[in-house]
């Protein structure tokens, strides 16, 4: 059984986030949504 604590260093975690497509897809959609809102207003 593995330990229940999280030990990933912060730099490694940040790199994991920035190379994760699960991060970039929502970011791209959010930007698109803001542009649409601007257009509609």
């Amino acid at each position: 059984m593995h330990s229940s604590s999280t030990n990933q260093p912060n730099t490694s975690r940040l790199a994991s986030i920035l190379t994760d497509i699960h991060f970039w897809v929502p970011v791209a959609v959010l930007i698109g949504g803001l542009l649409l809102l601007r257009f509609i207003r």
């Binding site: 229940s4 999280t6 699960h22 959010l30």
Partner: protein, 435 residues
């Protein structure tokens, strides 16, 4: 220390009866979510009495913020939120991102309701389920090794929903309000659908990694309130926004109540996404379309004096969408597919160094062996007291909007809401203790 590698030690899946129970729980949560989310949209009808869409959205988000902090504090206590964040701190980023997506989508829905009406806008933004299925398949192994019958159920259901949405879009362009606004309303509703459909990527990621839905929504609220504040101030300016808020004080309570009701629906939706995945959980939650239609027609008198062909298109489109939802609901995940879900969970725990035993326990809707039971502190009760006080203060200022409302159907629909709340809440408590 490198991320924990868990692929060797994960047992396959929880025992069959437990897995079946969790699937059923997810389905019931999805339907309860639909009822509550549908009811929450009703207060946005107040847009017709001249309050700015931005202000309506901001006030609803303030209600949502209060609910998102007070309800988790009441149900489990903030100690459980802190423990979850210590285990998977990276998910705070996704919670904030999801909150921002929600705020923009919600604002778009207000514009959509203003331009094309609740009955029509609702099914259009509910196209988010199609996107949810795609993201679930691409990113989280949903519908992998599901077998042709289940795939056909989910994909066929999605296709039927598409036809229904198209029918409703045609109805929207046939004479409701100015043509230019009608097109804007359709874009706004579809845009909201895309934003909400994508918002489920963070949801699923969080729940595969073991975060409690109640913890996730707590941080989500900062994203949505922050984004909504930026949008409102950027759009109106601080002084005009303040003047509008003062001018709208008699309806603030109703809008905040809408936000509060939305959060209850969203909590059920989160549990649906957790236990049946987003490809099934979102369409189930999207039964809110039917509830929205019921509120719109029975309580607010929508579609009154419109031509019969519009009625046929709107009702026919809605029924088609519901048929699709039904097909998806009856295509629950098989053991093999759940094994693929577990693979996706292992990938997440490996990537971010989250303990595998924690991920496994939470996927099974239970606490980790030896984990402290969540408890409420004075801080939790203070949060509940503060949120309640804010609602009471605005309730004292509230006036019933001067609109033609039908109170008997409103009372009946409210009674059904509470019945679902009790049934689903008890089922979640008995099976998972809200884990």
């Amino acid at each position: 220390m490198p991320p924990v590698s868990s692929s060797q030690s994960h047992p396959a899946i929880p025992d069959a009866s437990r897995a079946k129970k969790l699937q059923l729980l997810g389905i019931v949560s999805g339907f309860a979510a639909g009822a509550w989310l549908g009811a929450a949209e009703a207060p946005t009808k107040l847009v017709s009495i001249g309050v700015s869409p931005m202000v309506i959205s901001l006030i609803m988000v303030i209600g949502v913020f209060l609910a998102r902090w007070s309800l988790p504090a009441l149900i489990l206590g903030t100690s459980s939120v802190r423990a979850d964040v210590r285990r998977a701190p990276h998910l705070v980023i996704w919670a904030l991102l999801a909150g921002c997506l929600w705020a923009v989508a919600n604002t778009l829905t207000i514009f959509a309701i203003r331009d094309i009406g609740l009955s029509i806008a609702f099914p259009l933004w509910n196209s988010n389920s199609l996107l949810g299925i795609l993201w679930g398949f691409l990113f989280f192994n949903e519908l992998r090794q599901a077998g042709w019958r289940r795939r056909a159920g989910v994909l066929g259901g999605a296709l039927v929903m598409c036809v229904g949405a198209t029918l409703l879009a045609i109805a929207s362009s046939s004479g409701h309000g100015p043509a230019a606004h009608s097109l804007h309303g359709v874009w706004a509703a579809l845009g909201a659908g895309i934003l909400w459909g994508t918002m489920y990527i963070p949801y699923r990621k969080a729940y595969l990694t073991g975060m409690n839905p109640l913890s996730f929504i707590t941080f989500f609220s900062f994203g949505e309130l922050g984004m909504m504040t930026v949008l409102s101030v950027g759009s109106l300016g601080l002084a005009p926004l303040w003047r509008e808020l003062l001018g709208a004080r008699s309806v603030i309570f109703w809008l905040m109540l809408g936000g509060f009701v939305w959060v209850i629906g969203d909590i059920f939706q989160q549990y649906a996404a957790k236990y049946v995945g987003i490809s099934r959980g979102i369409p189930l939650s999207n039964s809110n379309q039917l509830w929205g239609l019921l509120w719109g027609i029975l309580v607010f008198g929508e579609l009154h004096s419109r031509s019969s062909s519009i009625y046929v298109e709107v009702i026919g489109g809605s029924l088609l969408m519901m048929l699709g939802v039904g097909a998806i609901a009856f295509s629950s995940a098989s053991g093999q597919e759940q094994t693929r879900w577990k693979d996706a969970a292992i990938r997440e725990s490996d990537r971010y160094g989250v303990a595998a035993d924690f991920v496994e326990a939470r996927m099974d809707g239970r606490q980790l062996l030896g984990e402290l039971k969540p408890s409420r502190s004075a801080l939790d009760w203070l949060l509940v007291l503060l949120a309640t006080s804010v609602f009471v203060i605005f309730a004292a200022m509230a006036r019933v909007p001067q609109m033609s409302l039908h109170w008997t159907p409103a009372a009946l629909l409210t009674a059904v809401l509470f019945l679902l709340l009790v049934i689903c809440g008890l089922a979640l408590w008995r099976t998972t203790r809200f884990n």
